[in-house]
């Protein structure tokens, strides 16, 4: 078994055979066309590293079709986004024509990691569509997927199995964040979905959405079948729900800068902080911060790091908090003084020492 590394850089000027950054393919599409093979017989894993060394976008539509893979010998496409915020200096698939940016059109075991993907043209299209991948597994992790022109669903899955983790999906008021067809099992963990018509449209009883922050959508969750658990939304959907109380004009208390695509948790007062469940949560967040930082995972793609010198715990302590400032609490044989009390979230007072 060998891990074979490939390289894609739209700004590369070398031989274009994908064997190094210098000689990188200039599009993911040309890599996919040239290197299709039977990974199972070869007992290989292909790892495709993507960057844009001078900021040029990859504009070629990628159709995944013509491979033989299995869960052991698979294909990984890895971008270089590392902030969780859309960046024009990082690798991005930005397709201005056609009706999809990435299409997995037959059974292919494949992962998309740290990519930025958008469709900027077309009509009723998809940034990523898994149109016919029954019998295989697709993983989408730490990606930013957006629809800046009101033209596309962010991710559509029509059959097979797909797990989506730590992703930020941004719409423009229309279409869907995750569009789950009746024949597809889709598990969505710790994603943030913002400003679509339907944040998560789920139609399979085995599909799950957990620890997701879904807000400022016309309908946050449109669930015909499936499970929503420990998610935060304007609508308070699902079981163990967190209802976001901030209005569209005041999301600053929830995330750092929603309007400009920064969905990191604002601070320990955010309703997303320490409000999810550790069951099923990925071990790290969209920028690699380990989970959980406190007792339980934060909701959404980002895990908040408490600044040095501070420590935050959750404790049920009563109905009034003002009296508890200055109080001593023993934690692990260390007495700590309560410095301030944050807001009440799910009957758990957040206290800062």
């Amino acid at each position: 078994m060998a891990e074979v590394l490939w390289y894609v850089d739209p700004d590369a000027t070398g031989a274009g055979d994908g064997t190094s950054w210098t000689d990188a393919y200039t599009s993911l599409s040309s890599f996919e066309a040239a290197e299709q093979t039977d990974l199972v017989t070869a007992t290989d894993n292909y790892v495709v590293n993507c960057r844009s060394s001078s900021g040029t976008a990859d504009t070629a539509i990628v159709l995944i079709k013509g491979w033989t893979t299995d869960p052991t010998y698979d294909l990984k496409i890895i971008g270089d986004q590392d902030t969780g915020i859309w960046s024009t200096s990082k690798y991005r698939l930005s397709c201005a024509s056609g009706y999809r940016c990435i299409d997995v059109d037959e059974a292919t075991d494949i992962s998309f990691i740290k990519l930025q993907v958008e469709v900027t043209g077309g009509d009723h299209s998809d940034s990523i569509i898994l149109s016919d991948q029954s019998g295989s597994n697709v993983y989408i992790d730490k990606c930013i997927i957006r629809d800046p022109d009101d033209d596309a669903h962010c991710i559509s899955i029509f059959n097979g199995f797909c797990e989506i983790t730590n992703c930020v999906l941004i719409g423009s008021g229309a279409f869907r964040g995750v569009n789950n067809g009746t024949s597809a099992i889709v598990n969505i963990y710790n994603c943030t979905i913002y400003n679509t018509a339907r944040g998560i449209y789920m139609r399979n009883a085995s599909s799950t959405s957990e620890n997701c922050a879904v807000f400022n959508n016309t309908d946050d969750f449109n669930i015909l079948a499936g499970t929503v658990n420990y998610c935060a939304s304007d609508d308070g959907d699902g079981t163990n729900a967190v209802t976001i109380t901030q209005s569209a004009s005041d999301y600053a208390a929830l995330v750092t800068d929603a309007a400009n695509g920064d969905f990191s948790v604002t601070d320990a007062s955010s309703e997303l902080y320490n409000a999810g469940t550790n069951t099923g949560a990925p071990s790290d967040d969209i920028i690699g911060t380990s989970r959980p930082q406190a007792t339980t995972s934060d909701i959404g793609a980002f895990e908040f790091i408490v600044s040095a010198g501070g420590e935050v715990i959750q404790i049920n302590i009563g109905d009034s908090f003002k009296d508890y400032v200055g109080m001593q609490i023993n934690i692990g044989d260390v007495w700590k003084t309560v410095a301030s009390v944050k807001q009440n979230i799910g009957d758990a007072w957040k206290i800062v020492f």
């Binding site: 040309s30 066309a33 040239a34 039977d38 079709k65 016919d132 559509s156 029509f158 067809g181």
Partner: protein, 131 residues
């Protein structure tokens, strides 16, 4: 002037013995002559391309906007019931084949005319029968 990146080899599945299921799976894969990408004039002058897999040809007097449709797949769309997505089946990765790509591997050919085959569902059935 538009530049075409053209698939210029046989798909790997043609060199191995396939099961019936695999024949079905790979029947829509890239064929020699399929248009992989369409780029603006000069794009491939500044960049390399895998010469074992592709050829590049330039078409004089053709704008990218008028040529971008050559990367379309051949699809069969089945309209579904209300509330369900239409079923889109990709019959061929590319609907169009350029067949006059006889050029040395290291050169980018500029041609006055392209010989283009437009695949149809009927022609795909013929290809299947040949297998």
């Amino acid at each position: 002037m538009a530049e075409f990146l053209i698939y210029n080899k046989d798909h790997w599945s043609k060199s191995v013995k396939l099961t019936e299921e695999q024949v079905e799976k790979f029947k829509g894969c890239y064929k020699n002559g399929d248009v992989v990408e369409v780029r603006e004039d000069g794009y491939w002058d500044k960049r390399g391309f895998n010469k074992e897999a592709f050829r590049v040809v330039k078409k004089v007097g053709l704008e990218v906007a008028d040529a971008i449709h050559y990367i379309e797949p051949l699809e069969k769309i089945t309209v579904s019931e209300v509330g369900e997505e239409d079923k889109v089946e990709t019959l061929e990765r590319r609907k169009y084949q350029i067949t006059n790509v006889v050029t040395a591997e290291s050169k980018i050919a500029s041609v006055e005319d392209l010989t283009i085959i437009t695949k149809t569902e009927l022609s795909v059935s013929s290809i299947e029968a040949e297998r």
